[in-house]
Symmetry: C2
Subunit: 343 residues, 2 copies
DNA sequence: GTTAGCACTCTGTCGAGATGAGTGCTAACC
DNA sequence: GGTTAGCACTCATCTCGACAGAGTGCTAAC
């Protein structure tokens, strides 16, 4: 659709604008050297590109800035791939060489590294406990009324919550049930846990145990999925360094949204379905507050199942090439690491 | 030292400035009505107060603003106490009426409530695991190499970490040790755990167990105090709404500091020593970035031992009365709740 | 098809003047 | 002697016009 020259010029404009944040004029493109035409020629092409919707003019007599469509084209066709490979590899490799002794720590640390390297905001979705399976279940009495329920998953994550135990349930009975549960439900995926609890154990328990109803309620509560996904946010304040966000009020609405877990989940969730690196530009994001932001996401997985995702949030004027490169490497390495860990 | 009239005027100025964020002039004080003097008289007193160091003038012909010393005097002698009791009690009571089933959730929720009610930033230090004691210890093999170590404290908190198990240690041996540990070290405070491990179990284990050295290393790692205190931050973006922080760069340095756990720990730590509500104004805070901020802290406790602390960070021009009231209530209620829970 | 030239447009900046809030001082008042 | 009215003075902020600069669109020449 676009001529080779138009692509070159569009590419030059996006590149320039990404690094300068100022509308770029025909003269500065001409001077760059990689497009060997005079300002006048470039002006003509720019007018065409604007008509086609790839560029915008803040006002007459200002330079052009890329439109969302322009960014989209850039990301889809012009981004110079693999550029990050050489430059940032060192930092990333160093990170993965460090021994960290919990998945959670790795993820958290990765979030920090990412935001530091990119100077944007990184959003990491912790491993989805949902798809891992039960390794061990335990109910530990604290005092007369309360007990801690502990669930260990196949990936070594530990979930816990306190539950109230009705006084009519005896300790020995509880122990019996917990043993039963461990013998029958180990290796069952967490999301199937509750249904299997009823189908596999229901009958047997009803026969052997006196306070079936009450006990079931306790277990129900203990296995309840408060297994919400954990979100790790890092470098939120990097938003403040971007010239387009010098208006405090706009930043405030964005940062406020970033404090809301559900919003973040919604933003990252659909990405975990697709494969590879996804870019959502400006209004392609659900929230209108993110109209001037782009979100680049990737996901990491275990045994082919997507476990969680990684996102980088920045202004639409974002260093797509670099970020996409880094994100690709990190998601790949994270996947590899998990695989190696729980092989 | 100050005359009654000077106190009245200082009080009026601080009050006014707190709500307006603009230097306050003699006329507006006179018009308030609670100080029954003409602007001229008030001007004279203001000049005196400035000489004494309680007030400052941004420039000639601007109104006065309180100096740090002025705020200090206000907080120490003029703050109208108990004002919050009636107004905000409802919200707080409603919060504590809600059933939440984990200490962690309560703290996290409390942070949110606090920042919402005050429109400042709230910083909560989670319960100090350090002073609670061991309830149960467990080592759960994941695969050939790794195991999850789980520590349950007397307050029902669950800590976990993955450790590597050298292949030469057998499962049955490990079980033996864990049982020994549970029988001998239950109810020992966590901070004494390691030393007691050696003094109480050292000999016995050396006799019965073959790979003493290796096993000790595993336990050492498992019991290591990664029990860092958890920090819950809420409403950090509220900083952005304050007119004194409309300069993006200053806010950035503050928000960046708030992302650093060690900084927050340092800021809140000394407060847990003292009793009651503490106010640190401007440069009384350690970091120079917080020169324009005040931090109000309180702590909550269990069995008389301070477990953690609560802080509210805002501009020096802060609603001291309200915040101190609210903080007082919350810390009291939090303490009461913990006591009731683990009575 | 490409480029030089030129008129035109729009923004950002700078300085001058106007505005207004607030002070400090003096003198009058109770 | 404490209190207040009056007045000159100061300083920040707002407004407005002029001006420079960057960039465009168009036309005509190459």
């Amino acid at each position: 659709m676009l001529t080779e020259r138009q692509r070159m010029i569009l590419n030059a404009i996006v590149d320039d604008y990404i690094s300068s944040a100022e509308p770029v004029g025909s003269r500065s493109i001409s001077k760059r050297g990689d497009v060997g035409y005079s300002p006048a020629t470039i002006r003509n092409e720019m007018a065409d590109l604007e008509e086609l919707g790839y560029l915008e003019q803040p006002h007459t007599s200002a330079g052009r800035i890329p439109s969302h469509k322009g960014y989209r084209y850039y990301v889809d066709h012009l981004v110079p791939w693999n550029s990050a490979e050489s430059a940032e590899m060192g930092t990333i490799r160093a990170f993965f060489a460090e021994k960290l002794n919990a998945t959670e720590q790795v993820i958290q640390h990765a979030a920090m590294i990412l935001s530091n390297m990119t100077n944007y905001t990184s959003i990491l979705l912790g491993p989805e406990v949902f798809h891992t399976s039960l390794r061990h279940f335990q109910l530990l009495p604290l005092d007369g009324n309360n007990a801690v329920a502990i669930i260990v998953t196949s990936t070594g994550q530990v979930e816990n919550r306190t539950v109230q135990i009705p006084p009519e349930i005896s300790l020995s009975e509880m122990e019996k049930v917990v043993n039963l549960l461990n013998s029958k439900l180990v290796n069952v995926p967490l999301y199937k846990l509750k249904s299997q609890l009823y189908s596999e154990l229901g009958e047997e328990m009803q026969r052997h145990i006196s306070h079936y109803e009450e006990l079931m309620q306790v277990l129900d509560k203990a296995l309840e999925s408060d297994h919400e996904q954990r979100i790790y946010l890092s470098g939120a304040t990097n938003m403040l360094t971007q010239p387009e966000f010098k208006d405090v009020d706009k930043v405030k609405t964005i940062l406020d949204l970033l404090e809301e877990t559900p919003t973040l989940l919604k933003m990252l969730a659909p990405a975990s379905g697709g494969t590879g690196i996804q870019v959502r530009i400006g209004t392609e994001n659900k929230h209108e507050a993110f109209a001037n932001c782009s979100l680049i996401t990737a996901s990491y997985s275990l045994d082919g199942k997507a476990l969680g995702s990684i996102g980088i949030l920045g202004p639409t004027r974002m260093e797509y090439a670099r970020v996409m490169g880094i994100l690709g490497i990190i998601s790949r390495d994270l996947t590899a690491m998990l695989a190696h860990w729980y092989k």
